[in-house]
């Protein structure tokens, strides 16, 4: 059975019976996830459009991504992981490192790009995504796919 917990207006699906301290931790990590998910999505979507539109224009993307990245780093620095989750902080920090490398590569592509650069950026983003997946735990609402407000999400409550 899955219920919904709420903090700061954000509903997170949580499996019943999970330690409340873990739930509180999950809210802290979710705030980091929100930024990193957004960065990966923005960069990925933009790369698709760059390739299909055959353009170099990145618009305001680098600045937007930089702001999210900085907020994520602040929150990672303040993260207090409980027993059993001690590795999370390191993984999230590594994910940021990969994203930083992707941003550097992105900037170098502002005026020119080659296939190898795109493959390299894609690989960095995949690495960041995989590290976030390692931290995921759907029992405490840490997911890569946000279905918290999807119409199907409360289905299990009706069971």
């Amino acid at each position: 059975m899955t219920g919904l917990r709420q903090a700061s207006g954000h509903a997170v699906p949580v499996v019943d019976g999970v330690d409340e301290r873990l739930v509180a931790y999950a809210f802290a990590v979710e705030a980091i996830f929100a930024e990193l998910r957004a960065i990966i999505g923005q960069l990925s979507g933009t790369f698709i459009l760059l390739q299909t539109r055959r353009t170099h224009d990145l618009g305001e993307l680098p600045a937007l991504v930089r702001d999210r990245r900085d907020r994520a780093v602040e929150r990672i620095d303040c993260l207090n992981s409980p027993e059993g989750r001690l590795a999370d902080r390191g993984k999230l920090a590594q994910a940021v490192d990969h994203i930083d490398a992707a941003i550097v590569a992105l900037r170098s592509m502002r005026h020119d790009r080659c296939h190898e650069q795109i493959v390299s950026v894609s690989a960095r983003l995949r690495a960041a995504y995989r590290l976030m997946q390692d931290v995921c735990d759907h029992r405490i609402g840490l997911t890569m796919v946000d279905i918290g407000n999807a119409c199907c999400a409360c289905g299990k409550k009706l069971a």
Partner: protein
């Protein structure tokens, strides 16, 4: 003349989908079985699909726990029921980028994927909004978009802008902007190949989940009740209803020809069977000379 065979293939289902998710306003009316399906269009030298299902490899346990999804089988198993391998698929139309439609692209190594550019560009735009606006991103896995980068790098992702006729002979893609998602699209199959077809099928994607969305009270003829929009729209209910009207008109007002892949009851209208894995195969139509997959 019939150019294509069409099958709707169930790859998973849930028995606890809230009715209000499929029919806007059906609050507190319990839940129903929702089939999770993709659609195969085969003929004229092509094997095409609408959508590819979700990423069970990474999310099996999560989706089972959170959404009540069960009985997932791989594309290899599901397509095998109609004698097709994933490598045979050459063209895939992505109706929209939700996780259960765009999640499994890796399983199709030889396909070219078509998606509305707006689906990608508005997703990127929505991500630039503050977190409090991120309802607009419900159901999208950034990992799927990341996999789209690889497809684009390989030249296998085609981003289209609006309608596209004859993407394959007799098959058109129709934009449904700002409806269920920003860049949703539906598929028409003009099975006689004629511009003014008398044998058109519409594959609705998530623009319709149930017959009632189409104003079909059960007879499958002309709409005989009000259109009822689906539950989730990051666009608008108005646009959903306008697109519903377009889909109905495309099939000459015969609602049974608009296929909602999630609708369990299509098994009552078209030949269907249950596989050994407990999943449903529904045969919508057969191309000239094609063998039925119901035996």
């Amino acid at each position: 003349m019939s150019l294509y065979s069409i099958w709707v293939l169930e790859y998973a289902y849930t028995n606890v989908f809230p009715k209000t998710g499929v029919l806007y306003g059906a609050h507190n009316q319990g839940s129903l079985k929702l089939a999770y399906c993709y659609t195969v269009i085969k003929g004229n030298g092509h094997v095409a699909m609408q959508d590819v299902g979700y990423n069970n490899k990474d999310y099996a346990r999560e989706f089972a726990d959170s959404l009540g999804l069960e009985k997932w089988q791989s594309p290899r198993t599901v397509l095998g029921e109609i004698g097709i391998k994933p490598e045979d698929v050459d063209t895939i139309f992505i109706s929209h980028a939700h996780f259960d439609h765009f999640g499994n692209v890796y399983d199709f190594p030889n396909a070219t994927f078509y998606i509305q550019e707006r689906e990608i560009s508005k997703f990127v735009w929505a991500l630039s909004l503050p977190e409090r606006m991120h309802f607009l991103l419900t159901g999208i896995d950034p990992g799927d978009i990341l996999r789209g980068v690889e497809l684009a790098t390989q030249g296998r992702l085609v981003c289209i802008d609006g309608d596209m006729e004859n993407v394959l002979p007799g098959i058109d893609l129709r934009a449904a902007f700002d409806t269920h998602t920003y860049g949703s699209m539906w598929v028409t199959v003009r099975n006689d190949g004629k511009p003014e077809s008398q044998d058109t099928w519409v594959l609705a994607g998530d623009l319709a989940y149930q017959f009632e969305n189409l104003g079909d009270s059960g007879k499958g003829g002309a709409p005989d009740s009000r259109y009822v929009p689906i539950g989730l729209a990051v666009g608008s209910q108005t646009n959903l209803l306008m697109v519903t009207e377009s889909m109905i008109k495309a099939v000459g007002n015969e609602t049974r020809r608009v296929i909602p892949p999630h609708e369990e009851r299509i098994k009552n209208r078209f030949p269907s069977r249950i596989t050994k894995d407990g999943l449903r195969i529904t045969e919508i139509c057969l191309a000239d000379g094609a063998r039925s997959m119901m035996v």
